[in-house]
Structures are given as structure tokens and as C-alpha cells.
Symmetry: C2
Subunit: 386 residues, 2 copies
Amino acid sequence: MHFPEVLPLQSGAQLRDYHLAYETYGTLNADRSNAVLVCHALNASHHVAGVYEGQPKSEGWWDNMIGPGKPVDTDRFFVIGINNLGSCFGSTGPMHRHPDTGRTYGADFPVVTVEDWVNAQARLLDRLGITQLAAVLGGSLGGMQALSWTLQYPERMRHAVVVASAPNLTAENIAFNEVARRAIVTDPDFHGGHFYEHGVVPKRGLRIARMIGHITYLSDDVMNEKFGRQLRSRVLDAAQPFAGSSGDAPAPSAEGYRYSTQDIEFQIESYLRYQGDKFSEYFDANTYLLITRALDYFDPARRHGGQLTRALAQAQARFLLVSFTTDWRFSPQRSREIVKALLDNRRSVSYAEIDAPHGHDAFLLDDPRYMQVMRAYFQRIAQEFA
Amino acid sequence: MHFPEVLPLQSGAQLRDYHLAYETYGTLNADRSNAVLVCHALNASHHVAGVYEGQPKSEGWWDNMIGPGKPVDTDRFFVIGINNLGSCFGSTGPMHRHPDTGRTYGADFPVVTVEDWVNAQARLLDRLGITQLAAVLGGSLGGMQALSWTLQYPERMRHAVVVASAPNLTAENIAFNEVARRAIVTDPDFHGGHFYEHGVVPKRGLRIARMIGHITYLSDDVMNEKFGRQLRSRVLDAAQPFAGSSGDAPAPSAEGYRYSTQDIEFQIESYLRYQGDKFSEYFDANTYLLITRALDYFDPARRHGGQLTRALAQAQARFLLVSFTTDWRFSPQRSREIVKALLDNRRSVSYAEIDAPHGHDAFLLDDPRYMQVMRAYFQRIAQEFA
């Protein structure tokens, strides 16, 4: 959807003449009361569910959660996925042309915040004729958007479903983001954010950023279970000769080690390198900076002297919060802070702390208890307009 | 100390014509029974205590622990610090010349393991005429060396003091090492490890490596306490103009944000960049690869089907193990694995789990309970030869 008008941003800058990519699933009911907005996190898009025709592998990123008969049942709900501004999956972002200069935005794309995204999402809903959402749903950074919706447009939603999220980033969270950004910015192929014009991509930096990110998405436990100290298998090596060596790779020792500092030795290394390589093929470096910064900046309590309870006094929605025990990126403690602030304000809150081994990634996986909690909550919402 | 003879390495390679830098503190007693070997971790050296004449800021890295009247009391013990092979503080390493080729070793420096280091240390002790150590002491990777000593030279030591250590790295530990290595290896200034000849240093990679390392040394708690979400102070900015901006840095918003993806916004970013910059000025990139690999490879249970109890059956020393509650790099759980394996073998073990907020770094800091545990244990050792 094209928006010719100006969108004022929190930074004081503005965007105009922008596009938002979105998808919808299911049917909007007669009184337009069954719409659910799904907000995405760092590495996702408006394509939340289903597959594109003739592309069986194009499953939406939350396809296990959203669809006909699924916990967020598109036979009952009208689900909307929107790609956020500054992202790289269809909505206007750094790789698009600045309407004033005709030059690719690159590093000149304005800093966007969670609040800006929510404002842009609200305008899209205006155009769709949706005055009030049944729910806003998001995990991680998506959960921050759901939370921000309750403060920016308290009357425009009935429920907020905030999964594996936090009221702001800790110093450690910011630190990981900053290392990833430095890896990108100091890649010589970054060219100050204007690499498009040079026909290169700062893949080295993107790979490092993704590897760091990936470590923080998984739990120590699940990494040990999946990879442990397993060496890269010899079967693999036979098919795929030893990477990076010039034919004289040392034969494995009696202990199975090859004694190399640069070649892959452990399975976990192979896995991380693969994740980094894949990511660097499709993700935009400026988008990475923008989205991690939006994470850093999000802090609704800031305007209220750091008091989350005061910040959340504006919320009117009913809430479901979900956290996962082994999530050390956004730990259960962070969700409990939100729950407490809401209870202090006598808001209606359901909270589920799911005992799952998969760390932050758990919010995208098929834990049966998690799925059951989500299904039950959305069934309750559906009864309101049934 | 110069060693002309060949040192066979675990990898099958060998080193010859090498130097080990070492320092001693205190006096070796008549029956040579009061020697304590101190092993260092990634970023440290043989200079464990005291200051060099006329250089008041040259304190040894464990100066709070070791010295006259300190927990490891150099009025009673003869303390030896050795810089490990492959390091960059005086012992033979990648920046030295290969005796065969005359060329700087660079990436051709052989992979060294904890076991190799221990063998080299034992040879130095031979030269010093020390048959049996009162104790081997180390924290983190240094603790792995102390543990390995008990298996490689069980009769040559009476005590092993293993602080904030682990019987091997977890997948997550290896993962963090691997990201740091990739940042270094993919820095265009690395030149396959032969950057010396190009007159450059892969500082970008070293900075990223150090930033990642630093995050894992601190606890989430202490980072929040020290930095939290504090913005870089304006006072600092007045004295030191806004870094990276071309004079047109945006004025801070009402919320205090400047809305920038590349400039420093939070104190934690400033701190990490500073740590990275400092490190990249003095640390050798090939050393970083070598030492992190030594960490990855250490796994005494490997030869015993992964059974630590069987591996530690060879140990004869009495043990003190210390861990710190908020250390998530080498968590208390990892120390308890060692304790359990020793107890399974009916070895003498003392174990202290110190409730300290500082994460892995705690082993270098002045926690009073920690200091007291160390003092008491070394007093007990001293009574053996008093």
C-alpha cells in the first residue's frame, strides 16, 4: 500500500511517499471486529502464514501458529501481517530511493522506532477501515510493538498478546546489538552505509552479526543437546572436501581433532557459519542497524522516570504474556516486570511461563503447552464476536 | 629462558628453539618445596604480580591475589608466572621468526593445546630445579592448565587450585570463540594470518572479538548496575566532541536520544568500543586464534569416552575449586562436575561457590569471601613446609 503523505517520526525526521507491504489471511467479518495484527521481529516480514502458490517451501514465519484451525485460527480471525518501515522485505527501506534525492537511502534512511512502526501500522488499518483490532500479537520485538500499541492507541485494540518480550533492553542486550552493528559498520564493504552504489554487500559484517544473534536466540542447554562438542562428521567431509584448506588438511588425530584454528572443527561452528552465510545472502545491512536500534530505543517507561507502572497506566487492553524459562535474551523476569506493572494498574492479565528448552527461539517453535495457551486465549477472544 | 630442544606437540607438529618468558616472586626455600606455578588465561602473561621499577601502573594481572602478605603470600611461597607458547607477551609466538624459514610464523605457528603448555611449563621447572610444586593455580583457562597438570604430572604437585574454570567448553562457549575468530579471520587486514609482512593489523576483527569476549566476562546484573540504559553523558560529549559525526550530530531529543544507528548512544556502547580499541592496540590476532582454540580443544574426558570421573582417576593432588554464582561463561555447574568426578575418585576436594555479582570477571576481583577462601587454603598449604 502506498502512502504519499508525510509520516512524522519520533526522531523529528519524516518519511513520505512510502510503501508498506502487507498480507491478510481469513475474512474480515461484517462489523470489522475480528482483525488481528501480527507484528514481526528482526528477521521476518508480513508473510506470517501460508505458502505462495507453486512455492511449497515459502511457509510464513509463524505458519505453525496462524492459519485455518491453528491457534490463531484464520477461519475465525482476519489476520494482518505488515512488514515494518526500514525492513528489507517489501516495505520502504534503506535499499529504496529517497523521493527527494532519487538516490538510494542507504545510511540516510531515518532512524525508526517501535512507536513509528505502530503509527505506520495504524494508518494502514485506517485505510483498511479497521477501527478496532481484536488483538495485536507479536513475539520478541513484535511483542514490544504489541505493548506499544496499547499505549499509543489504547482504544483501537481489545487484546495484546506479548510473547517472549521485554519492557526494554538490558545493557547486555544492547551490548550484543552494538557488537553486531560494529561488525557491519566496520566491514570495508559497508562504505558508510552506501554500499549499494559500490555494487557490494558487507557480507563479512552481516555474517558475524547473525552468528552473534543466533547464539543469543538459543539456550545453552539446547546447544549442548543439538551440537555439544561433536566434531564435524567425517561423512560430511568425504562428500564436501575440507573447507578452506589447500588440499593438505591435516588428517584427524587419534582424538578426532585436526588441530586447526581456521578450519571448521566442531559441528556448532559449521552450523553458525551456515546461518551467517545464509543470512548475508538476503538481509540488508542498513536494516540490521535500524532494527537493532529500534530495539535499543524501545523503553516506554523512560518518559515516566523509568516507572513502568506509570507508563502502562494508559493501557486499556486485556493482556496475555508468555515467556520461556530458558530464554536468556528476554528472560521470564522481563515478562514478569510487565505483568507486575499491569497488575499495579489493575489491568486484566494472563501470564504463562512455559518450561521449554529452546531459549528465545521457543516462541517460534511447536511447544504443545505454549500452543495450547495461545489457542485457548484466542478462542476466548473469538467468543467476543462469535 | 631459551629452549633449543624440540617440544613435541599434541597435534603431531613440534616447536624448537623457543623462549618462555617467566617471572618469579619470593624465595625458593632450601628443600624447594614452596613453589607455586600460576597459569594465565587468554589475555594475560607471566607478569602476575608487583610493578616494574619506575612504572607504577604496571601492576601484575593478579596483583590483588599474589604478593607479600596477600592470599598467595610471596613471603612464604616462591611464585612462578610463565607466559604460554603462542601468546604475545614475550614467549615464542606467531609474531616471532620460524627458525627453519626465517619468516615470521604468523598463521604457521603450530596449534598449541593446554597439554602442550603444561609440558613446556614442566620443562621450565626442570631447569629451575623444581621437582614438585606446592601448588598449581589458575583461573578460567589457567584453571584448565592446573587441572591438566594433575593428570599429566600427578607426582609433581601437591595441590591444584582451579578457579572459575570448567572441564571443557560447552557448545555455547565454542560458539562465542568461533564468532570472535571469524571476525578476525575475515578482516581483510588479516591476510590469512600473515599480516605482519603487510605492515597492518586486523584491528577491526580484534575489536569485535574483544567486545564479544567482554560481554561474556560480565554478568547481566553487573552490566545493568554499571551501565543499565544510561546514555553517554553530555558532560563527556562537551569535552570530547561527538564521535564519528561530521559536526552535524543531531541534538539530543526530549527523551535524551540522538537517534543514530552508528554513533554512540548508550554508555555500554562507549565502554565496549573502548575495550575493543584498547585490546586491538596490543593483542596479537594469531594469538587470539591459538588461545581460543586451546580452550575449545581442552577436554580431558574425551580420551575416556567423555567420562570425567575416569579421566580424573589419574589425579593425585588435593584440590580447591572456586566458582562464582553469576559466572555464565564457566558456571558453578561446570566446577561442580569437576568436584563430583574428584569425589567419585575419593580425592581430597574443597569447593567454594562464591555469591558474587561480577560474572566470570569475579575471579580477578576483590570479593572478600573469595579472598578469604584463597588465603585460608594457601595458609594450609604453607603449613606443610613451615
